[in-house]
Structure formats: C-alpha cells, structure tokens
C-alpha cells in the first residue's frame, strides 16, 4: 500500500508541470482562442536558458546562427540561483509577449486552423533552434526546491514533490481569485464571452489578450525551471509536455483553473502508478503504458461527455479555407502524370529520391485535403494512419507473403476501421476540441501501438519486401540503380490516381454533401443529409488514402521505424498542407514538392546552399509567416486572377479544347418580377 502512495507522491512532479502548463494554455485560449502547441516549447527554451545560466552564466537568445550567446558572469562562472531565476522568468515572459505581438496578435480574427498552424510553426522553430544551440544530449540540473527526504506514513520520498504540488494549488487559487473578483479578470471573461461587446464598453481585447499571454508565458517559464531537476532536459521531450498539458486543459474545458490543475496532477499520478503496476504485473505491456493510458482516458472522457470548450465569442467572422473546383480531372491527371514522368527521368540519385518522397507526401496530404479541406474535420492523427499502413504492409507482405498489389490495398483497408474509430469523437466534438482529441489519439497510438516491438520491430524497425508484379521487380532498388525509374512510375500511377479520385469526389454529389456539412452542419441535417455517417465516411476514406501513403513510404524506405510517425509529424503534415492550400488538390501537390522536409525543393536547396541543419527552422518561420499573410494557402493564391494556375489551366484548355454543351435556361413560370402596388 505504502508503495502505491510513494508513486502517487512521485507522480506529483510531472503532474505539477502538466498542471502549470495546462493553466497557461487555458489563459491563452480564453483570451485569444489560440490553442498554443508551442507552449511546451517556451517552457523547454526557458529551461535551457536557466540551466545555461546556472552552469556557465551565458544567456542564450532564441535564434540560431547569428550571435546568440551573452555572457553575464565573468569567466564563465555559474550564476547564483536567485538572479538566474529572475532572469529566466523575465526571459520567458518577454519571449511569450514578443510571440504574441509578432505572430498571434495579427491572427486574432483568423480561423482556428490558421492559429493552430501558426503555433505549430513557432513550435518547430523553437525546437529546431534548441537542437542547434543546445544539442540533443539530455542535461540534468541541480535541485531548486528543497528535496531532502520526508518520512510520511512509513515511506520516504523527496519533499520537492510536495512543494511542487503546493505551488500548483497556490497558482490555481490565485488565478481563480484574480479572474473571479478583479476588474482585469472580469475584463478577460467579458472579452472571452463576447469580444465585440467588450470592445464596445471600452475593454481592449488586444490588451487583455496580451496581459494574459504574459501571465501564461511566465507560468510556462516557471514550470520549465521547476521540472529540470526531476526530468532530464532535451528539446523534444520537453516540447512534448504540451500534450498531457493539453489533456489537462481539455478536461478543464479550457475554462476551469481548478479542474485543469486537478486533471494535470491526476495525469501525473496515473502515469506514475502505471509504472508501479508494470513492475507488479509483468504481463502488462512494458513499453508506453504510462505514456499511453492517460491519453486513452482523455479520449474516452471527451467522447462520452462531449463537453464543449469554454465560450469564446469572436468578433471576427472567419471563413473556412477556400476550396478548389477541379475542371477536367482526367485530362489534368494525365498531364500531371506525364510531367511527373519527365521530372523522374531528368533527375538522378538523391534528387530523384527526394522527388519520390514528394510524391508520397502528396498522397498523405491528399488524405487531409479530403478530411480537413472538404469536410472541415481537423485531424492531428494523420501520421498515425500512415504508420499503421506502413507496419501492416510490412506484416502482410513479409510474414503472410501476400503479393503486391493486394498487400498494399489490404493494408490500407485495414487502416479504415482505425480511421472510423478515431472519427467517432468527431460526431460529438468539433473544431479545436476535435484537434486536441485527435492529438491525444496520436499520442496514445504512439505510446501503445508504435512502441510495441512485436508490431514495429523496435528501434531497428521492420523490413518491407519490395513490390513485384508478374515477376517484374517494382522496388526502389534493382541491385544496380537506386532509386529506379520503375518505382517512381509505380508511385506516380498510384498517387495520380488517388488525386484523380479526390478531384472526382469534389465535384460529385458526395463532395457537395461534404462541403455542405463543412459550411453549416445544422442546415445540412435539415436538408436530409445524414451528418454522422458522412463524417465517418470521410474519416474512412482519409484513413485509406493515408494508409496507401504509408504503404508507399514503407516500400520507399525498405525498413520502417516508428520514429517516422511520432506525434508531432502529424502536426507538421497538417501545417504544410494547410499552408499550401488544404482546400485544393494542387495544395497537396505543392505541399509535397515545396514544403515537405525531405521533398524535392528542400533537398534541392540543401544541395545548392546547404540549408540542411536549418531546414526545420526555415520551415517553422515559413509556416508562421504564410499562416499570417495568406490564410487560404499558396495554391489559392496561385489560382487567383493573375495566378500561375489559371494560366496553366488556360494553356491546357487551348491545347485540348473542349466543346461545352449549351447552357439550359428555361423560361420562368411566373414572369412577375416586380408589381406596382
């Protein structure tokens, strides 16, 4: 019994950090409607700043390459605790404020998806900068809070856990009091409830939001400092703290400080107890249980209770991203195929391989064009579908010996039930809540499924048998040439066909229903559309396409490993598709060619000007800037009046003229247009 109590107390450590980050997320959401995926990254960066000050007295600025180190002590001496604490807290707060002014303030009236993409951009930037400036080796730090053991009920445990939990309770209580009884709290609640109304009675929503961001960033910096002695510091795992923190905030409906704090502490305790349970029950999965189960809990509660997020009346009337209108999809597909073929033959070696990566990314992005573009369902679990497709294929083609193309189709079909399962919460929750729920799903899949050595082959990954048809080797390597043109043609055939299908769907009755649901779910139901099955159909199709993408990825890589499908890869895929134009087939093409990190354009840049290690930073900045400047996506811009896409379409129609049927215009039954009284 006392052993269980020990693990409860140990769990308070991580739980406190989840709670503090969760409280900050609530503040940010309530004041701006932003779910800030970069919140954990701010904590991470502040932690590095603190650790550096404490060890060498150097202040690290948040950018790479150009000078970013300011020595604050003579001769690289360690800084004392108190000044280091103060400087770091101020640093984190200023960083948060600058990000608010530079990125989020211009986006106050933007759509939720735009805000998500901008914050993903910030997150990528901070994480990549940390990797460049601090490296990826884990750092440990000396304790801040008194941690001499306390004896309680017969067990000894480090006392800092009690202090940490105490800090969480105090912070939550202070926030509760401030937001309930002060004028500032009232103003925040008023502008969260009704931004226009608040502005009319003299509250500036921007200044309210800015002040809330300052508080939230202060908390993030604080939690970053507090966690360093408990959990060893590295860029990725600290950035990932945002996922359980989002879970805590979600349970608090992004509104209640009390529930968020309790949920954060609770998640930490559950994780800690699961570690204990693993040692008792050896039949339990030994990997990922403690990471995965909390997300399963979040998922189930969210799906069953379907609680809405706290009210946020927005003054802006944002529109969904614009949609494309594919004309003559068959012809366009053939032309695309021919152009792809030419590029394939012209390129060689690493660039040809990069072009192949681009094609596969296009397939994955197409699954999002369908799901998020057409039906408006945000999915942050898309790479989980891709991963499932890849690993299932490796089993089907390897152990079971099912031949191509049946193995590829069957593996994608097997991903469909998973897609429907992940789509179930979408029947109850919408918009930003859905985004967070799907992220929790991705985290659960990552921890429980992709860490399963039997399924994914562990660190080494799993080999995939190359595809062959009628004795003809279609694989990426034929022993002499790598990568082969045959494999490229295989990719082109499959992905162009998928693109053709998605384009066909767009102009079909099903596509119209999907867009109707995206535009106005309520009205769609009154027009006789069964909304729930339609959404699930969308998730199923999207999962199938993503599964195909996964299979192709497996064929390309030869060996699939679970690191390719980590939680944040899904965020990146959504972000690049959105920035490229999530409402269009062309958006998927541009995302694959231009924005994919191992795609053609980035590899070309790397070849020419060696951006290699700065690639993620460039990607992050590009993402945030495009989200701010061009909310409809690059493809939409290109399809505009003077856009390049329109010229291409005109050229196509001149080369392949069409004979349009004469328009039907029946006479009005009633000729009365206006009647005089």
């Amino acid at each position: 019994m006392s052993a269980f109590l020990l693990f409860v107390l140990l769990g308070l450590g991580a739980g406190s950090v989840y709670a503090l980050l969760g409280l900050g997320l609530v503040l940010k959401y309530r004041s701006t409607g932003v779910i800030d995926f970069a919140h954990g990254a701010i904590a991470m960066f502040s932690a590095y700043v603190f650790v550096n000050l404490r060890s060498t007295g150097v202040l690290e600025l948040p950018w790479p390459v150009i000078p970013h180190e300011i020595p604050l002590t003579a001769g690289g001496q360690a800084m004392d605790l108190a000044p280091a604490l103060v400087i770091t807290l101020v640093y984190g707060t200023v960083l948060g404020l600058l990000l608010f002014l530079g990125v989020y303030r211009p986006l106050l009236q933007a759509s939720p998806l735009t805000k998500v993409c901008a914050s993903v951009g910030v997150m990528l930037f901070l994480e990549a900068t940390a990797v460049l400036n601090f490296g990826t080796t884990s750092l440990a730090s000396s304790p801040i809070l008194p941690s001499e053991p306390i004896r309680l009920a017969g067990i000894a445990f480090p006392s800092d856990r009690i202090y940490l939990a105490g800090i969480v309770i105090v912070v939550a209580a202070v926030l509760l009091v401030v937001y309930r009884w002060t004028k500032f709290g009232l103003a925040t609640r008023a502008s969260a409830e009704n931004e226009t109304g608040a502005a009319l009675i003299g509250i500036s929503p921007v200044s309210v939001a800015g002040r809330n961001w300052v508080i939230a960033s202060f908390l993030a910096a604080g939690s970053g400092i507090l966690i360093t002695p408990i959990s060893s510091l590295d860029p990725t795992s600290y950035t990932l703290f945002v996922v359980p923190a989002l879970g805590a905030a979600l349970i608090g409906r992004f509104q209640s400080f009390g529930w968020t704090a309790v949920a954060g502490l609770g998640l930490g305790i559950v994780q800690s107890e699961l570690i204990k349970l693993q040692t008792i029950f050896t039949w339990l999965p030994q990997q990922g249980l403690s990471d995965g189960v909390p997300f399963v809990i979040i998922l189930i509660t969210m799906t069953l209770s379907a609680r809405r997020l706290g009210a946020r009346g927005n003054a802006g009337t944002w529109r969904n991203p614009r949609l494309g209108r594919p004309s003559r999809p068959l012809l366009t597909s053939i032309i695309t195929f021919v152009i792809g073929l030419i590029i394939l033959v012209l390129l060689q070696g690493s660039l040809r391989a990069a072009f192949m990566s681009s094609i596969i990314t296009m397939c994955i992005c197409l699954s999002l064009v369908l799901l998020s573009g057409f039906i408006g369902q945000v999915s942050l679990a898309q790479m989980s579908f891709v991963g499932m497709g890849a690993f299932i294929l490796s089993h089907l083609a390897g152990d079971l010996g099912i031949p191509f193309p049946f193995s590829l189709i069957l593996s994608a079909l097997l991903v469909v039930p998973i897609g429907i399962l992940i789509g179930l919460p979408a029947l109850r929750v919408r918009g930003v809540s859905l985004a967070v729920v799907t992220l929790a799903t991705a985290a659960a899949m990552d921890a429980l499924v992709f860490s399963n050595v039997g399924f994914t082959g562990g660190l080494g990954g799993r080999k995939v048998a190359p595809p062959s048809l009628f004795g003809l080797n279609l694989g990426i390597s034929d022993g002499k040439i790598y990568p082969t043109i045959t494999f490229g043609v295989l990719l082109l055939v499959i992905v162009v066909f998928v693109g053709y299908c998605v384009a066909r769907l767009r102009t079909s009755a099903t596509g119209r229903m999907m867009i109707a649901v995206r535009s106005n779910e309520r009205a769609a139901a009154y027009m006789g559309i069964r909304v729930a099955p339609l959404k699930l159909y969308g998730f199923a199709l999207s999962a199938f396409i993503a599964g195909i993408g996964g299979g192709l990825l497996a064929y390309q890589q030869g060996t699939v490993s679970s690191s390719s499908f980590a939680v944040f890869t899904s965020l990146t895929v959504l972000a690049i598709t959105y920035v490229a134009g999530i409402g269009r087939i062309a958006g998927a093409v541009i995302a694959g060619l231009m924005f994919s990190s191992d795609g053609l354009f980035v590899s070309f840049l790397d070849d020419v000007i060696h951006v290699g290690q700065y690639q993620m930073i460039v990607a992050g900045i590009a993402l945030a800037i495009t989200a701010i400047g061009n909310p409809n996506g690059v493809a939409s811009e290109m399809a505009g009046e003077k856009g390049i896409a329109l010229r291409i379409v005109k050229l196509r129609d001149r080369v392949f003229p069409t004979s349009k049927p004469p328009a039907l215009s029946p006479q009005p039954v009633i000729a009365v247009a206006k009647v005089r009284k």
Partner: protein, 252 residues
C-alpha cells in the same frame, strides 16, 4: 382535402421558460397556413420543434399519417417536410446550383463509393430547374451566396427547400428584409406552390403578406394560440388586434 400535418399539444420548454405551450395546428394538402405572433411569441421554437431540433418536446406531430416524434432532422427532411431559416443559412462554399443539388440529391452508400471513380449523373435536374425558375434564380445559379443580394439569398433558401420536392415547407420569416415590391412578388410565387403539390406554413411579421396569401392563419402569443381562422376572421378578431396589431386596423 387530406390532412397533411397534425400537431397536437406541442410543448417546448427551455428550463423554466415555456416557449411553446400546448399548441395544436393542422394543415391540409394544398393549403397555405400562416403563423403569426409578436417577437418572442414562440414561432421559431415551433418550427425547430417540428423539424427535430428539440428532442425532448411534448405533444405529438403526425405528418402524412406517420408520427414525427423522436425522428432526427434528416429523417424528417427525407419524409418531405422541409424548412427555411430566418437567417437563410445557405452553404457559403457552394454555388446556388450546388446548394439546390445538395437538397435534391439522395446518394446511397454505393453511389458514394462510385463517386470516387465515376461520379453519378447529376440527379434531380428537373427539380432543381423547377425550383430555381419558380424563385427566379436562373441567372444566379452559378454564383456564390455571397454574391447575391439579400432578397436573392432569401429566395435561394426557399429554392433549396423546394428542390427536394417537399410536401410541406415551413418558412421562417422568408420575407423579412425584403422591400415591399419584392415581398409582393414573393407572395405571388408562394400562391403558385399548392398548384405544384407543395403546402406551406408561413411564419412572418409582414401582415400584408400573411393576410394576403394564406388560406388560414394561427395567431400565437406567449407560446399559446390566441386565435385562428381565415384572414377576414383574423382581421376582425379583438384579441388579435389587441395582442398583435396594437389596436390599429390593417389595410389589406
């Protein structure tokens, strides 16, 4: 005349506030029935309750001999009972034609799968042409709702409901925001609907329109029916004049 809609003791309460208090109403085939009442009288709640938006309402609704109780909105629409909205609620990302198509088409799961490769021929072409012509929208079919005037948007909302070839349309303030000329033209269109097999429940503020086109009228106030009858009877009813018309006579 056959009975189309039979509403008995319909009751809607939001917490302690009773929005619709035991309202009974009938509509026969080929009728245009009006429902009027001051702001907040419960008119929109009544339509919401009929179309499945308020699951736990009281009373019973029988449409063409079948009960609508506990049916979801989409099933009610598929039975031929359509509605329009006070705030129009068109699908902004679709053209007017596509808006009408969404209502007119009824894809099955099989045709939804086939749509991936070979889209089915557009269905309901005749219904769409009929609805758009009736609402004088033929020139606006390929435009987006945001490019239409307010009056045209209202008409597009009506056309979308008609494109499903319903037996009965519940119209929630279709003439609100139209100018007098537009309102009269709209009334003429409305009058032609029973000839096409469509009955109408017209909810509106525009007394001239309602008294001019309706066969029978129900007047509700504070959630209850206070009068019903032909336009002439309603014009002369003392309680109506008091509650709704504020003591003034209305010129037809």
């Amino acid at each position: 005349m056959t009975r189309l809609l039979d509403v008995t003791d319909l009751r809607v309460a939001y917490g302690a506030v009773v929005a619709v208090d035991n309202v009974s109403l009938t509509i026969d085939e080929g009728e245009i029935v009006g429902l009027i009442g001051p702001n907040g009288a419960g008119k929109s709640s009544f339509i919401d309750a009929l179309t499945g938006a308020i699951p736990n309402r009281g009373g019973s609704v029988v449409f063409e001999g079948g009960s609508l109780d506990r049916l979801a909105s989409h099933s009610i629409a598929r039975r031929g009972l359509m509605r329009t909205f006070q705030s129009v609620e068109l699908f902004d990302d679709l053209t007017v034609r596509e808006n009408l198509q969404v209502a007119a088409e009824q894809p099955t799961l099989l045709s939804m799968l086939a749509d991936l490769v070979r889209p089915s021929k557009p269905k309901g072409v005749d219904d769409i042409a009929w609805a758009s012509t009736l609402c004088d929208l033929d020139d606006a079919l390929d435009r987006f709702p945001s490019e239409l005037s307010h009056g045209q948007r209202k008409l597009a909302g009506v056309a979308r409901a008609l494109a499903k070839r319903p037996r009965l349309v519940l119209m929630d303030e279709p003439a609100a925001g139209l100018d007098t000329d537009e309102s009269i033209a709209f009334g003429q269109r409305l009058r032609s609907l029973p000839g096409h097999g469509v009955s109408v429940l017209l909810v509106d503020h525009d007394m001239e329109l309602v008294l001019g086109v309706c066969d029978r009228i129900y007047v509700i106030d504070f959630g209850s029916v206070i009068a019903s009858g032909t336009p002439d009877e309603i014009r002369k009813n003392d309680r109506v004049i008091e509650a709704y018309l504020g003591g003034h006579d209305v010129k037809a």
